[in-house]
Symmetry: C2
Subunit: 195 residues, 2 copies
């Protein structure tokens, strides 16, 4: 049986990761890896579907046990990717998608060298700024901060296996699809199936 | 500018490498790497197009200078891939195809880790035997030897980055095409273009 693929997608906010991730889920047989978090659940969010909701203590205990593939702190809340469901999915031949920030992506790339990492780029910083403003949901300060962060994230680019420029969403998706199809024939995953 | 790709294709005789290589040349913008050889030229073979024809002494001198990416001895004749034209093509952003035996492929994979290596598999040993017999050009002894070699080459499979089973030539080509398209977005080659 073929081994599963852990696809790590990262890139600056506004590059279009979310839309691309949705297509991979619907068209390429990927499942989202469900994260754990210490933040409170929002209306409509289901335990084990959108997140595993944990107390600070439970999160810290899991972290101490090495039960996370990666963790991050955002606005004072902890987020983490539980290791066990990821490894189980890969062993069972299921493909998982991780849509995470560059800090988390770096940890995953280091811990799981067989993961397939893709950095999604906006066509330019100018276009990124345009997209962030078009959202009309963020303050000027937020936009400035996101643009500043994006410039820093770009420096991480060489760590990723692939880079895709999201100028046209159809073209970017096609490119991602071809990366996924190629990596399904990577001997790391494919050999157990051939044998 | 994007860096060129060295695509190394190998696999047992009868797996269909030749047909797939021709398609990559005609449809995907690859050029063949021209080999050097000490064997005599055959009618219709042009110097610098089909081979670089060298004397035993000239070949040995190049080998001593480390001017070959890989060399092999077949039926008493020397064959080798000159290193300089390969490196020059890659620097200039041209994609090169190397269709070589598993011994040569192993050397190239070790020397040039950024190469993209693909092993072309027949659907089964039974089908491989069928294809070799269908050629009607080889003796029973040749067929036995090729089948024996194929079994040995299969053991090299984990060294290759990708494996493609050539059951249907259209499907196998499509798969190879997607590998090529994915690898053109590998950051190793793609970053110089983005910057």
């Amino acid at each position: 049986m073929r081994k599963g693929m852990l696809l790590v997608i990262s890139g600056p906010s506004g590059a279009g990761k979310g839309t691309l991730a949705q297509r991979l889920l619907h068209r390429d047989g990927f499942a989202f890896s469900v994260s754990a978090t210490t933040r409170a659940s929002r209306p409509g969010e289901e335990e084990g579907v959108h997140y595993y909701f944990l107390s600070d203590e439970a999160f810290a205990a899991m972290e101490a046990e090495g039960d996370f593939l990666e963790t991050a702190t955002v606005h004072g809340h902890r987020y983490g990717t539980p290791l066990k469901p990821v490894m189980q999915a890969l062993e069972e031949g299921r493909d998982l998608l991780l849509d995470i920030d560059s800090q988390g992506a770096r940890t995953v790339m280091e811990k799981l060298a067989s993961c397939v990492s893709v950095f999604i780029l906006p066509p330019s910083m100018r276009e990124l700024e345009h997209r962030l403003r078009a959202r009309q949901t963020e303050s000027e300060e937020d936009i400035r901060r996101r643009l500043h962060n994006a410039a820093g994230e770009m420096e991480q680019l060489p760590r990723y296996r692939y880079a895709v420029v999201n100028d046209d969403i159809e073209e970017a998706y096609t490119q991602l699809h071809m990366i996924v199809q190629a990596e399904r024939h990577n001997t790391v995953r494919y050999l157990p199936e051939i044998r």
